[in-house]
Each structure stands twice: as structure tokens, then as C-alpha cells.
Amino acid sequence: MIKLFDYKDTNGYNVMQTWADTMPMQKRDRGRLDNRIDILERAEANLLPPGLLHPTRCRHIMHLVVKGQVTLCPMICRGTVDFQNEFTFLFGATEKDRKYVPKNAPKIADNNREDLKLHTQYRCKHERFNKNPATII
């Protein structure tokens, strides 16, 4: 099993949870997003499903793609401590007309990754986005 982490900013806020909470997301899309994350968690070293992670123009940054009413692109990187068995969610973005929103999302994610390399305490175990879909509006 892969271990998943979320980046926490300098104020200690889990940026991924904040993104997921503020993102207008239909229940169906949230189901898709959760499935992709569960698959990533179960991916073996010899079986990363093709197309699950998309590269960006920043070398170490990849993102999931969850197509729905809004295309969700949570930014992710390997590690940052164990590069074989860990992934860390760094920043939440969306995609519109083949462009990231915000435009510099991969760069922000890369900055967060650099930050995390210096301060490993700026991350926590990944929490499932909103455990109870019944509460989603």
C-alpha cells in the first residue's frame, strides 16, 4: 500500500482539505475523486494504472484528473521522504479550456514541495475528503 500525505501550510492548515471543502463539487464527482485516490493508494510498484497521474511542466509535479462538471486536478509528488512508497498532495487546482486554474498551479505545488523538503513536519496523513457525502451540498 502507498502512503498518502497532505501538505500543510505554515499556519498548519491542510491545503487539500481546505481546497476540497471550498470546491463546488457534485456528489458524483466526489465519488470519482475518492475512487482515483483509493486506486492510487492501492497501486503497487509494478502497477500504476496508465493515465492515473499526468505530468506537468514542473519535473516532480504530477496531477490526478477527475472529469466532471469541473475538471479537478489535485497536484501531487512522489515522496517527499520515501520516494517508492509515498505520495504527497501539494495543491488543489482545476482545469478549464486545457489551462490550470490558477494558471501557475504546478509552480505553486513545486514551491510547496520545496518547502516540504526543508520542513518535513509540514505534512500530515491524507484524510479522506469529506467522509460523509450526505453532507455535501
Binding site: 475518492d34 475512487n35 486506486i39 493515465g51
Partner: protein, 188 residues
């Protein structure tokens, strides 16, 4: 029950959510299985395309988890290329949770007909029958009396009752009918 199963048990109570989740899982699962089966055959995408009578870019598209335009006709062609059979069935959600739970390369791999053990063995090996043993059982049934444990208990019960009745009869014959009756109780 592990954490994911518990979480899905709760989350799947919402219809929109569970359909979104499981529809996406189906796409991921099929795309990944095509890749796993191709690698099991040591084929390139080009080679699989040739076997299935398609073009390589199509195989590449179908091996991507974001592909969702599946058709049974195309899947049958791929199944034939791998010398496997395609099974399409409606399932309940609990079955799907099990599939998600055990998602792995090993679980997606299949053996083609040529390597299928079922068709390589003789019928008695497949059905796990020892013909010699079966023959002996049949011989015992025809020529010898074989009791199982319940039959033996029943035999003993009958023998004791017969002995009791016989004793009572002999006592009656001797006009000693006032002898208290023997309480006989048999555990069943």
C-alpha cells in the same frame, strides 16, 4: 473489515456518490486489465493491435484510465485476442467493494485457454475423484454391510429395547408383573 470497506459502507449510502465512484472504478479496472493482460503476453501495444485487428493508438487510448467509451463489441475482440472470454454482468455494490479492495496485478491477470489447467487435465483429475477409492466404496455397498455412526447407534438402541422387552415378557410369564418398570431413556 478494513478501513476502506467501512468507509465505503457509509459513503455508498448516497446514490449519486456510489455511482460516480463505481463507474469510475469500472473504467480504471478495464483499462488497467488490458495493460496487465498485454504485459502478461509480453506484447507491445502494436502487437496487441495486430492480434485484435485495431490500430495501436486505439489500444493506447483504451489502456488509459480516463477512457470511458467502451463497447461490448470491442471488448469481445480484445478477449479473443487474449484467448479469453468476456463476462458482462450486473452486480450489487457489495461485490464491487470486494473488487476495489483486492485491486492488484495478480487479481487482474488471467490464463488463456492454452494454459488453462482445467482443459489440460483428465476429467477425473479435474473433478478430484480417486477412481480406485470409488470402486472400493461401491464394492462395500454391494457385498458388505457398512454402517455409519448414526446407524450403529440406532442398532444399539434397537438391541437394548429388544432385550428389555424380552426381559419384561419373561417376568410376565413368571407372574411377577408388580416389578417396577425400568425407566429407559435414550439420548437422541
Amino acid at each position: 473489515m478494513n478501513d476502506l470497506t467501512k468507509t465505503l459502507q457509509q459513503s455508498f449510502k448516497d446514490k449519486e456518490y456510489r455511482h460516480g465512484y463505481v463507474d469510475d472504478f469500472s473504467n480504471v479496472s478495464i483499462a488497467t486489465q488490458i495493460k496487465v493482460l498485454r504485459e502478461q503476453h509480453n506484447w507491445t501495444q502494436e502487437e496487441l493491435a495486430k492480434e485484435a485487428g485495431m490500430l495501436q493508438p486505439r489500444i493506447s487510448a483504451m489502456e488509459n484510465v480516463n477512457y470511458s467509451a467502451w463497447s461490448i463489441k470491442i471488448l469481445r475482440r480484445l478477449a479473443e485476442a487474449f484467448d479469453l472470454t468476456l463476462r458482462v454482468s450486473f452486480e450489487n455494490f457489495s461485490t464491487r467493494v470486494g473488487d476495489i479492495e483486492k485491486f492488484s496485478r495478480k487479481d487482474l491477470e488471467r490464463v488463456s485457454f492454452e494454459k488453462d489447467q482445467f482443459f489440460q487435465k483428465k476429467i477425473e483429475e479435474t473433478l478430484n475423484i480417486d477412481l480406485e477409492e470409488e470402486n472400493q466404496k461401491l464394492h462395500s455397498l454391494v457385498y458388505g454391510k457398512v454402517f455409519n455412526i448414526d446407524e450403529i447407534q440406532e442398532q444399539q438402541k434397537t438391541a437394548i429395547l429388544d432385550a428389555y422387552k424380552s426381559k419384561q415378557k419373561s417376568l410376565q410369564d413368571q407372574d411377577m408383573t408388580k416389578t417396577p418398570a425400568l425407566q429407559l431413556s435414550m439420548g437422541g
